[in-house]
Each structure stands twice: as structure tokens, then as C-alpha cells.
């Protein structure tokens, strides 16, 4: 249920995303966000396999957490391109996944946090094992503070099974000589496509 857009929240989100190493792009529709994800996958170097098994022959884009309709639209965009589109069985791609695509359920502007409800293993893995995580975020879903997100979160956490993730950038470490390094166990990059409507 998209509510009205809180312009101040959108601006704060964009301002806070930058220091969190999040690449933000504005798109007109979810369809354009899909296009963006495909382009990111096309432009990137193929993921280097992390396990001693033969990696996938082609680049892989995973989008398990979208509706049939959206997945069909995405499949169309991938058609004819040198990449594979997967929707399930992500555990077979632990050696390396190029792009994971998710749709944010909510975002918290003050910390540039995308909130994803992802109880299904595949939904979670798409955001964890990819090299680049692309998130579509409707502007209307951005709230100012974590406290403003409470009504949504309360509902999510009260379910019988739930895994809700706050994601505020690519995976990072400073464990060696306190030097900030992106991409330890999770994504090396995080892109957010801000959707207008």
C-alpha cells in the first residue's frame, strides 16, 4: 500500500546512502529498476568462483523474491543476453552469484537502511552470496527513523517464521589494521534503484 512520498525522507536517504557506499540511481518504474539490474549484471566482470567446483558458465542474475509477473518481465529483458536468470535453488550457486535482485519492503532514511522481509532461504541467499546486490526501493516506502519503522517491523516479527534484514550497504570489514574494505562475505557492491511511483 504505497502511501504518499515523504520528500524529506527521500533526500535524507540519498544523503546517508553515499557515506555508506551505496550506489543510488533514480528510476521511473519497477520495470526500469529491472532493466537497471540487468545492465549492472551485463557491465560487471563475471564472478570468480569461490569454491573448487566449476562455476556457472555464464553470468548469473538471481531474483527469487519477486512475483510471477515481475519475474516474467525480467526474463524478457534477459532474453538473448549472455546471462542466466535463476529464481530458486540458490544454494547451488554458493561458488558465486553475479547479481541478486530484491525489492525493499521499507527503508529507514537516517541510516540508509533497506528493510527486507526474507524468510525464504532463496530470498535471503540472493542478497548474501551475490557480488552485486541491486535493490528496488519505492520512494513511498522510505521513513525517517527506525522508530517510524516499528509498525511494519512489529507485524513482521510477530509472524510464526520470519527473517527480517536491515541492510545498510555492501558487506564490510575493518579487521585488518582498521582499514575499511568492502566485500568480505557478502556483496562487494550495493545498488539501490529509487523508484518514483
Amino acid at each position: 500500500m504505497p502511501g504518499p512520498v515523504n520528500q524529506a525522507a527521500v533526500e535524507l536517504y540519498s544523503a546517508k546512502a553515499k557515506p555508506a557506499s551505496i550506489v543510488v540511481t533514480t528510476v521511473k518504474s519497477l520495470d526500469e529498476a529491472l532493466e537497471y539490474a540487468v545492465k549492472v549484471c551485463q557491465d560487471k566482470e563475471k564472478a570468480k568462483p569461490l569454491l573448487d567446483v566449476p562455476g556457472d558458465a555464464r553470468k548469473t542474475l538471481a531474483a527469487p523474491a519477486v512475483s510471477d509477473e515481475v519475474f516474467a518481465a525480467l526474463a524478457k529483458k534477459v532474453e538473448g543476453k549472455d546471462m542466466e536468470l535463476v529464481r530458486s535453488g540458490l544454494r547451488d550457486h554458493l561458488a558465486g552469484l553475479d547479481v541478486g535482485f530484491s525489492v525493499a519492503d521499507l527503508a529507514i532514511a537516517e541510516t540508509a537502511t533497506a528493510v527486507l522481509e526474507c524468510e525464504k532461504e532463496d530470498d535471503r541467499l540472493a542478497a548474501m552470496i551475490c557480488e552485486t546486490h541491486v535493490v528496488a526501493l519505492s520512494k513511498s516506502k522510505i521513513v525517517m527513523t527506525s522508530y517510524d519503522a516499528e509498525p511494519f517491523l512489529a507485524k513482521a516479527l510477530s509472524r510464526e517464521r520470519n527473517f527480517t534484514a536491515f541492510i545498510s550497504g555492501p558487506s564490510r570489514t575493518a579487521d585488518i589494521e582498521r582499514v575499511l574494505t568492502l566485500g568480505v562475505h557478502g556483496p562487494l557492491e550495493m545498488h539501490v534503484a529509487l523508484v518514483e511511483d
Binding site: E121, I176, R178, T181
Partner: protein, 717 residues
Amino acid sequence: MTDADAALKNMKGYRQSLKGALEDNFLRQTLDKFAVQYRANRTMIFADMNERELIAEIADAKDESMERLEELYEQFRAEAGKKGVIVHRAATAKEANDLICRIAKENNVRKIIKSKSMTAEEIHLNHALEADGLEVVETDLGEWIIQLRHEGPTHMVMPAIHLSRHQVADTFSEKTRTAQDSDISKLVKVARHQLRARFAEADMGISGANFALADTGTIGVCTNEGNGRLTTTLPRVHVAIAGIDKLAPNLHDALRIIRVLPRNATAQAITTYVSWITGATDNSVNPDRRKVFHVVFLDNGRSALLKDPKCREVLRCVRCGACANVCPVYRLVGGHRMGYVYIGAIGLILTYFFHGHDRAKNLVQNCIGCEACKDVCAAGIDLPGIIQEIRARLNEEQGSPATSSLLAAVLANRKLFHTLLRFGKWAQKPVQSGQFIRHLPEIFASGQGFRALPAISPKPFRSQFADLQVKADGSPRVGLFAGCAQDFVYPEHLRAAVRLLTAKGAAVEFPQGQSCCGLPVQMMGERAAAEKTAAGNVRAFEAAKVDYVATLCASCASHMKAHYLELTSSDPALRASAEKFLAKIVDLSSLLFNVLKFSADDFRNRGDKAAYHSPCHLCRGLGVVKEPRNLLNLAGQHVESPEEDVCCGFGGTYSLKFPEISSTLLAHKLDGVEASGAEYLVTDCPGCVMQLKGGEEKRGRKVKVEHMAEFLLRNLK
């Protein structure tokens, strides 16, 4: 038992290990750089929020949760249980280890991956699992590095902060049997590669939990690397281990803590990931696609702590690590010498409560009492106060060290103390050279060569006061609290103060019944003596009808303000009198600037360039920051020097116990001041004067050290 462990248990070994750390150049440089950057970054990341208010809210909420702990536990168990989670409670470390080994066995587990958990470190879980034939791999980069090196963490948030990239490259080369480049981003890739395979094959994942939410049976885990997410997602079994103190009534409490925890830990607005896990979530390996999910709550002394009114606030701790980040002692010697498992101020404390009084007895001496930790603690815990309390308990349990009991006996008896001090001036004669003591008697001298110690004045201030012929009328009426250092060593500070006060028309009184404020015995944990000195001073000022009680010693003032109510609490009439007494206490700088309104017109400003050392007990103990600097600019020119508010290393008897650390802090301070181009170094505390002046004496008096009162008087019109 490891060497480091053995070293904690005897003072000689402990000091040896401190010296070793002081000689580790890499460690020193790393921690130095970190300390400076951390402070700046922390200030920035808190800039747009009301830090104090938030911390106070967290403290209150935590206290309330702890009050309802049993209820919260039952609620969590019921809620999570309904959702298919198996909830356990382990009374001891051994019980927790046995339990987790049993869970592994029941689920035919062979390979385990772990994400970071200080609670697992607390109980040495890896040892127990390995002894049971299980393979355990840490997946947090820092934890993995130290696991490969068979070391313990040296920081709660950055466990491998003591290691250089070269050391890490060597460790990784050995592990992978391939030479590895010491480029950090390449090293991180090695870990990504090596550990992904471990994630793929693991049967069980063990994580910690930052929060356990009672109302929904949810755990919350904060990580940056993303290893926590894989650990809780891929394996078919997940065990989360958490202290029972991690229970919170609901999400709001957790969100509030998240506003401070990452800011305090690494000056980040939030950790990259926060995962909220409820119920037996989807897992494709298990036939029913349900994760086997156990939550283990560890007690290990926590419920006993809950019943301990003086120390229970320790349970508020959210493990942000900030108390180590700002600790001047941690900065010099690193983690392995500032805690057994937990590190920093909280490490000193938790070693006592979780890991044995034997391991804690030397550690808890190694706190200089600067209060830097208390000032930043995410949960508003009075860490130095609790460290003093532990010293007191150790004294009661193990008997006081001879020097400490002697001092206690002497300080508890004002007349004896003062007589001894008067005789001290004769005793020191053969060793005195001018204002300073030339050579200390052997028993005190070990390691004290870094500064000259002042001589006891031939005539204490208490015997000079009558000669000053201060007029009895005037306004406001100020009672001077001298404190021993100024009464017996630096009476000139007090004389200067009297002149400044009377210059503005104040009446000054000196109640003769006053004595030492009692801080030294409090620091050593001699409670009875601390109570006796407190009572004596409160009574001494009862008769004097003064508007203010002025101190020139920030340490006396902050000790009295912080502890006198408690120290007099056994006698309600005395406590009421103490309350009135404390309300009148003010430090000299604040009195001169705020009340007597000294202005530029009062001084002949010759532009004397003065650096300022901000005494721990003034800037943090009393929260006085602006007034001294304003005064310096009225009478001269304040020249900024680096880290004005970092401890000078005095810490009373601390500097006698740990001269190697005291002298290093002093050198750091004086290097900065000398480089600033100042001619004077001014401060507001006789202890700091003693340390700084003694240091400058040895360094050839490049800078002249003065108490604020002396500096102001010299420039008074």
C-alpha cells in the same frame, strides 16, 4: 593455562607483560592512531543527536529489563517455543558447553561455523567443541585470524587489532600453503574464498545475539561482514548463544540501543546488517524445510550480579567496546593486558565476576581512574566506581596489601596523618634538593626515575592560614577545602587562591577540622577509612557558615561529590549534612569565572602563552570545560595542544604501582605541550601539577608548570 593467563595471576608477571606491550611499536602506533581517530569520528557521528539523553534512556530501560528478567525469560521461552524454537538456560559455562555439544551430537553435526560471539568466548566454547571431536571455524575475519594463530581477541569489536597486515599475510600463507601478498584487500579476498567453502559444508552455525526480544521470541544480530547472515542461514542447525542480560521486552528497546551501539563501537551510524530471526525459518537441507533452531541463554554469574546492588548496572553493558577505545591504559598496553576475555574497563570488571578473582586481582589495579570510559559508556555504567568497589572486595577477601592498610590506618586518623606529614618534612631532609626530593628511599623508588617528586612544604597551609589575616567579612563567604596535596605540598596554590578570592571581596574561611578527602583510600578499596574521612570533613564544615566550599583539587571535589552521600549513608543526620556540604562545593576556576566574574579588566595580560591540561576529575568528574580556558584567555593566551583532556598519568598511587604506564602517559602529554610552543602549562589539580612539574623538572624545564591560581595571580593587576 596460557602464558598470558599465568601472567595475570602474579603482579611481577603482569608488569613484565605490560613492559613487553609498551615495547611493541606496531601495537603502540596502531592504538595511538585509533584512539585519536576514534574520538574525532565518534564526536562527528553523534553530532546530530542528544547523546546524553539517549544513554540515560538506555540505562533506565536496561535497568527495568533486568528487574523483570525472569518474566522476560519466561515470555521469550513461551513465544519462541510456540514458533518451533528450542530455548535453553545454562547456569554455568560448563553447562552451556555440554549443552551445545549435546545439540551437535543429537543432530549428527561434524562441521560447525561460527559468527562472532563474546559470550562463546566467555565460556571457551570452541575448546569444548573441539574436545568433542567437532570442527569449528570462526567466520568473522578478525576472529578467524586469531583462531588460526591460537590467540584470544584483544578488542571486543576488533579482535585482531593488535596484528599487522604482514602478520596476517604470514598466517594466511601458512593456512593456504601459498605465499600471500600483504595487500589488505587481497587478504580479505583470501578469507572470502577460504571461508565460503566452510559455509557451504557446515552442518551447524553458532551465532551470538545482541538482542533477545521477549514479546515475539526474536533474536537480533548485528554484523558488518555478512558472515552472521550466512552462519544463521546455510547450515541446517542454528544455535544462538546469549547472556540472559540480552533479553529485552520488545523491539523498541533494541532499536534504541542500535542508535548508540554502532556509533560507540566504530563510529558507524549502524552496522551494515541487522538480522531479526523469529521461529524455525526456511532451510532447504532439512526434509521439512525447517531450520533446527536453539537459543541458549547463559547465566554464568549474571543472576548473582543482579542481586548485587553496587555492581548490578554492569548488566546494562551492550558490548560496544567504547570503554576500551578511550582508555589511556588500553591504548598503551592493548587488550591482552586489559582483561581476560572481555576487554577494557568492562573487561577488568567481568574478569572478576566471570573468570575468577585470581585473574582479576592485578588487572583491577591497572585503572588510573580517569573516567574516560564512564564518559562514553553506551549504558551509562559507572565503570571506575565499580572497579574501586571490586578493589574493596578483593581487599576484604584476600587482605589488603601492606601499603594500602597502612595508608588506610593513617588517613582514618586525621591527627596522626597530619603529624606524620609534618614529620615527613624532616624525614625527607637527607634526600631533598630544593623543591624536589632527590632520591626516594629504595622501597618507593623502583621505576620512579621519570619524574621528580615534590618535597613536603616546611609549613603546611593549615598553619599559614592565620598569618594571612584574611578579613572575616565579605561576600560571598567561601570555605576553602585544601586537600592534602595542597595543604602539605603546595600551600602556595592555596595562598594564591586566597589572594584572588579576597581581591574580589570574598570572605575566606579555613575550617581546621578538615583532612584528606579520602580518595586515595577509596581508590585502594579501603572502605572503612573512606567512610571515616568523609564523616570528618562533613562535620568540619558544619559549623562554618559559608556560601561555597572551594577546592583547588578537582580530584577531591569529584570524589566528594561522587561518593560522600553513599559513604555517610549509615547515619541519616550526617548524610543530610553531607548533602548541604556537597551542594556548596565548587572548583576554583568555576567560582572565579562564574561567581566572582573575573574579567579582562582584572588582569595585566602580557600574552603569556599557556597550554592547558584538563584534569580528568575536572572535565569528566565535574563536567567543567570552558571556565579554565576562559580564565587563561583573560590573563594570558591559551595555546591549544593535542588531547588536552587525556590523563597525564598521575592517578595517585597508580603512578607508584605502574610507573611504566604512568611515565609513558606523561611523556606523551609533555611532548604535545612542548611542541605547541607554550611557555606555561597550567592545570587545576595538584596531583596533575605534581606529575607534570616532576616530569618537566627531569626534562629540563622547557615549560613552566603552574596551578591555575598561580598563573592568574601572577597576572593579576
